[in-house]
C-alpha cells in the first residue's frame, strides 16, 4: 500500500538514534519551582494563591483567565515564595508563581472516574479543570478544541504520533511505554464524537510504535493505526489531516471545519490522566538530546523544573555548547538561558556543540525552486522572502504568504542558505498586525456610522 502523506516536505537528518532506545526516567523536581501564568494560547491564567500559602501537589495555582485560557496546578508540595515576573524559555518575561518545594510530595485528593459513568459535559469539565493544553507546542486549550460547534460532524480524531521533528523521541517512548493509557485517552475523546473514528497516525520510522499500538488496538471497531511516510513536516496539523483523511484546510479554517480533531500524543496521555484518574497536568515527557549532551535521554519532568536541571540529569553538556534549543531543530527556538522553567509546551532540550547555522554564508538566490518544492503549503518562499525584504506586504499577501506555517522547510532546503523562514515569518507578523488594525478601524468606523456597537 502507498504510505499516506502530503505533497512537498523535506528529509532532514533524523538524529533520533541518539535517544530513541533510552527508557524514560523520572527527573526529580527542583527546590524552586516556577509556574508561568501563560502556558497556553489566549488570556493569561489568574492566580488563586498568594505569597506564603502552603500548596499541595495537584493543587490549583491559577484558574483560566478567559474562555481561551487554562488552569495551572502545582507539581510539588511546598510554599508560595512569590508571584513575580520570571524569564521564559523564549526570552520574554511572564508573571509566574514561584514555589519552594518542601520535597514531601504531599498530594491533594484526586477523584478517578470510569468512562462509562461520565457524561460528555463532565468529560469536558475534567479536561478543562485538569489544565490540559496542546503539548505539541501550539498550546491551544484542549477543552476548547474538544468542544467544536459541530461535534456530530467530526469523523476523525487523530492522535498525532508523527513526531516529525528531528531528534525528538519522547512521543515514541510514550507510545511504547504508556500505550494503554493512550488508547484510553483516545476512547475518552471518541466518547465526545459519536460519528468519529480514532486514528493513531505514526511515521514509519517508528515501526515498533506502530506494531505496539496495533497490538493494543486489535479488534477495536473505532480505532485504527495509520502508518505515515516519514517526511517533515508530516506532524503538522494540516499535513497530518491531509495524510489521514485526504482533506485540505487553509489558515482561516479549524481542523473541525473538515471534520477532524488532532491531538498530540502527550496531550492524549494528559487527557486520560485528567478525565479518568482525576489528575491535572503536572508532568510531561521531554527529550534532552543533541551532540552537546553527554547522555541523551527521555525524561518525565515535573512542570516548573528548570531546563538546567534537565541538562544536568542528562550528564551535563559536552564542552561549552554554542546553541541551546527548546523544541526540535526545525521549529524550536534558541534559548538565551537555561535557568528557565519547563512548561506544558516544552518538548525537548536540544543542545548543539557547534551552531551550524552561525557558520553559514548567505549567497544570492539562484532560483532553483528547492524552497518551493519543500514547502508543505505550496507557497513560493523565495518570492515571499523577496517581498518581505522589500517591505512589500501587498504582494506578500497576494502570493498567499499568510498560509505559511513557519515550518522551516524552505530555509532548510535553500542551497544559497537564505534565511527564508525568518523573512517570511516577520512579514507575516507585520501583515497580521496590520490586518487586525484595519479590521478594528473598520469596526470602529462602522460603529460610528451606525451610532451603536454591534455585538460580535
Amino acid at each position: 500500500m502507498r504510505k499516506r502523506t502530503f505533497k512537498g516536505g523535506i528529509h532532514p537528518f533524523e538524529g533520533k538514534e541518539l535517544s530513541r532506545e533510552q527508557k524514560t526516567v523520572m527527573l526529580p523536581a527542583d527546590e524552586e519551582m516556577v509556574f508561568p501564568l501563560s502556558q497556553s494560547i489566549g488570556a493569561p491564567s489568574k492566580p488563586v494563591v498568594a505569597k506564603g500559602d502552603h500548596v499541595l501537589r495537584g493543587q490549583l495555582l491559577a484558574e483560566p483567565g478567559g474562555f481561551v485560557s487554562s488552569a495551572i496546578h502545582s507539581s510539588v508540595s511546598g510554599t508560595v515564595r512569590a508571584i513575580e515576573p520570571r524569564t521564559l524559555a523564549t526570552g520574554g518575561k511572564c508573571m509566574s508563581v514561584v514555589i519552594e518545594n518542601d520535597g514531601k510530595e504531599e498530594e491533594t485528593e484526586f477523584h478517578p472516574a470510569s468512562l462509562e459513568s461520565l457524561t460528555k459535559e463532565e468529560i469536558l469539565r475534567r479536561v478543562c479543570d485538569g489544565g490540559v493544553v496542546g503539548m505539541g507546542g501550539a498550546g491551544f486549550p484542549t477543552a476548547v478544541k474538544l468542544a467544536p460547534k459541530n461535534p456530530e460532524k467530526i469523523d476523525a480524531v487523530i492522535v498525532n504520533g508523527a513526531e516529525c521533528e528531528p531528534y525528538l523521541t519522547s512521543d515514541f517512548r510514550r507510545m511504547l511505554e504508556d500505550g494503554e493509557a493512550l488508547v484510553q485517552g483516545l476512547q475518552v475523546i471518541l466518547k465526545l464524537f459519536d460519528s468519529a473514528k480514532g486514528y493513531f497516525a505514526i511515521e514509519d520510522n517508528k515501526p515498533e510504535a506502530i506494531a505496539h499500538m496495533r497490538k493494543l488496538t486489535e479488534g477495536m471497531e473505532r480505532i485504527r493505526v495509520v502508518p505515515l511516510k516519514t517526511k517533515y513536516p508530516q506532524g503538522g496539523e494540516r499535513t497530518i489531516i491531509k495524510a489521514v483523511t485526504g482533506r485540505e484546510l487553509n489558515s482561516k479554517m479549524l481542523p473541525a471545519d473538515v471534520g477532524a480533531i488532532v491531538d498530540n500524543v502527550d496531550t492524549v496521555y494528559s487527557i486520560k490522566r485528567a478525565v479518568l484518574d482525576g489528575m491535572p497536568l503536572m508532568e510531561r515527557i521531554i527529550t534532552v538530546t543533541g551532540d552537546g549532551v553527554k547522555e541523551p535521554k527521555n525524561m518525565r519532568v515535573h512542570l516548573g523544573t528548570s531546563y538546567a536541571s534537565a541538562l544536568k540529569a542528562a550528564g551535563g553538556a559536552v564542552g561549552t555548547p554554542e546553541k541551546f534549543i527548546s523544541g526540535g531543530p526545525m521549529m524550536g527556538f534558541a534559548m538565551y538561558s537555561l535557568d528557565v522553567p519547563l512548561v506544558k509546551g516544552s518538548s525537548c532540550l536540544l543542545v548543539f556543540e557547534k551552531d551550524p547555522v552561525s557558520r553559514l554564508q548567505e549567497s544570492a538566490c539562484i532560483n532553483c525552486g528547492r524552497c518551493a518544492a519543500g514547502c508543505p503549503e505550496r507557497l513560493l518562499p523565495a518570492r515571499l522572502a523577496d517581498c518581505s525584504a522589500r517591505g512589500d506586504l501587498a504582494s506578500f499577501d497576494r502570493l498567499h504568504g499568510l498560509e505559511c506555517v513557519e515550518c522551516g522547510s524552505c530555509s532548510w532546503s535553500c542551497p544559497a542558505k537564505r534565511p527564508l523562514t525568518q523573512l517570511i515569518k516577520s512579514a507575516r507578523r507585520q501583515l497580521l498586525a496590520e490586518k487586525k488594525k484595519a479590521a478594528m478601524q473598520a469596526k470602529a468606523q462602522a460603529a460610528e456610522k451606525g451610532g451603536q456597537i454591534r455585538n460580535g
Partner: protein, 323 residues
Amino acid sequence: MDEFNVSANPHFRSPMTTGSIMRDVLLALTPAALFGIYNFGAPALIRIVVSIAVCVLAEYLFQRGMKRPVTVSDGSAAVTGLLLAMNIPSTLPIAMLIAGDVFAIIIVKQLFGGIGQNFMNPALAARCFLLISFPAAMTGFVYNGVSSATPLAILKPGADAAEGTVSLAAEFLGTTGGTIGETSALALLIGAVYLLARREISWRIPAAYIGTFAILVFFLAPGHSFDALYLAEELCGGGLMLGAFFMATDYVTSPDTPAGKLIFGALAGFLTFIFRMFGGSAEGVSYAIIFSNLLVPLIERATVPKPFGYRKPEKTEAAGKEA
C-alpha cells in the same frame, strides 16, 4: 549565560550549497565534454580549458575590481565556460572564444548583478553573440579534416541532397560534425540521467521541451511528417539534447513554478521547431531558449500555484468593502 548563539528557526540546514549543485552540473557535462575531446582532438581540449579559465578569471577580476565579494568558488562561472566551449566548433579561433567568455560573464551575468540576476543564460547569450558577430567561423564545421555539413544542415527541409547523408547511429553516438559538446546524444543523456537522479533538475522542462518538439516534427515537419527516422535524427542532431537538459534547465533563467516549467519547456520546443524548419539556419535551439528566457518573468507571474487548502474567496461584505 549570554554567550549562547540565538537565531531564528530552523537550526540546521541541508548540506547542499550552490557550489555542490554546480559541481554536479560540471560532473554531468563531463561525459559529453570528454566525448567532444575524443571526437575533435586537442583543439577541443584546448578550447574547453581556455573557456573555463577565462570565465573564472573574468568573474574574479571583475568582482575584485568592483570590490564585490568574489564568488568564483560557487562554480557557476566554470559551468558557463564549459557550456560555451561545448557550444562552439572546435575550429573557432581562440580569440573569438575569449571574446564570447568575457561577454557571457561581464555583460550578461555581472552587469546584471551577478549570479541569480541575469535574465538570459550567459553561455547561450554568448553563443548567439558569436553567431551574429562571426557567422562564418561559428558555422564552419570541420570533421576528420574535411569541412562538412552538420547532420542538421543535411536534414534541413530543402537542403541539397548532395550534401551527404547521416546515419542515425553516428548521430546518437556523436561521431559527426558539430559543436564540441553537442554531437553525442548518448553522452549527454548519461549526464542528464545523473542530474535527474540527483534531483538537480526537474523533468518538467526537458520533457515539455523535447515532447513538444517531437510532436510538432512528427506531425508537421515539411516533407517529413509521420517519418519516425527523420524525427529521431532531428532529436539526436544539433544542440537539442544539450539545450533541453543543460541550458533550458538553468535555474536562474527558467521559471520557478511547476506549471511554469512546463509552459517554458513547451515554448522552447515550439520555437525550436519553427526556427529549425522555417528559419534561415539549420540550428534553432539557442535562439529558442534565449527567447523563452525573456518571457520567464511573465510565465512566473501567471503560474503562481494555489496554496494548500485553497478555497475560492467568498464574496463577503468585508471583501467588497476592501475593493
